[in-house]
Amino acid sequence: MTWTQQIEVGTELPALKIGTISRTTLTLFAGASGDHNPMHIDIDVAKSAGLGDVFAHGMLSMGYLGRLLTDWVPQQRIRSYRVRFAAITPVLGQPTATGKVVSIDEVDGERRATLELAVTLADGTVTLTGDAVVAL
């Protein structure tokens, strides 16, 4: 019996705890992702828009959730992956990525699991919610 046969509705993915997000994290992500929006790396620009500080790129947290997925299934099994950015992630935020199986269906001749996903900060703020469909 392979591991994917043991997956059922309610199965939880091993949570992925991320370390503290620093300004260095945001600078590296700006360069590596190509997202040069100064709102994430330049406190002067953030203040000029009425914010107290820079905040993390949404796609950084989506990248963490992507790691949760690829830690769990080979990437070629991911059929779709989507998120809604529910709250900003401040500097020094400590995100944890979680997911669980909410349904299993037969689609196009393959067994697919739908996963419910979230990223939550240490203070309980949910910053991302989403779902992914993976072939088992």
């Binding site: 590296l28 190509g34 040069h36 989506m62 992507g66 779709s80 809604r84 950015f85």
Partner: protein, 152 residues
């Protein structure tokens, strides 16, 4: 100011990026990726990949290769400081690898507002394809524009 609904259907400039192993290692470092198959070509090959796989969310970066990436926002009269990423989705067709030349073709598919114009939404669909035209993924991005002056 309100985003003109005539913006719907607009094709934005396509961008192309030849993904190399160095950029993928930089991205892996930036998201804290520790799985060697995203940084070590031999590990990737041992896992059955032709080269380092392009991770699921890096495909969003292809359209960011545009040297003036906020131009289309500014052209709509929007201050990029008040733009937020609302939603993002990926539908995958095939895995891309280091060495692939990928093209992103973005198109505006919807514009709408909520809360009396205080929030405006722009929906953009982007196809990512290889040089031979084969499909890698289809992306949908929802951008939220805050209009602090509206609906007060």
């Amino acid at each position: 100011m309100a985003v003109d609904s005539a913006f719907i259907g607009t094709q934005l400039p396509a961008t192309t990026l030849t993904v190399d192993a160095g950029r993928l290692r930089f991205f892996a470092k930036a998201i804290g990726e520790t799985n060697p198959l995203y940084t070590d070509v031999e590990a990737a090959k041992a896992a059955g990949y032709a080269d380092l796989p392009v991770p699921p969310t890096f495909l969003f970066s292809i359209e960011l290769e545009n040297p003036d990436q906020f131009r289309w926002v500014v052209d709509q009269g929007i201050d990029p400081r008040f733009v937020l990423h609302g939603e993002q989705s990926f539908t995958y067709h095939s895995i891309a690898h280091a060495g692939d030349t990928l093209t992103a073709t973005p198109r505006i598919v919807d514009v709408y507002s909520k809360k009396g114009g205080a929030l405006e939404f722009i929906v953009k669909n982007t196809a990512v394809t290889r040089a031979d035209g084969s499909a890698v993924a289809d992306l949908e991005t929802v951008i939220v524009v805050r209009n602090p002056g509206a609906a007060k």
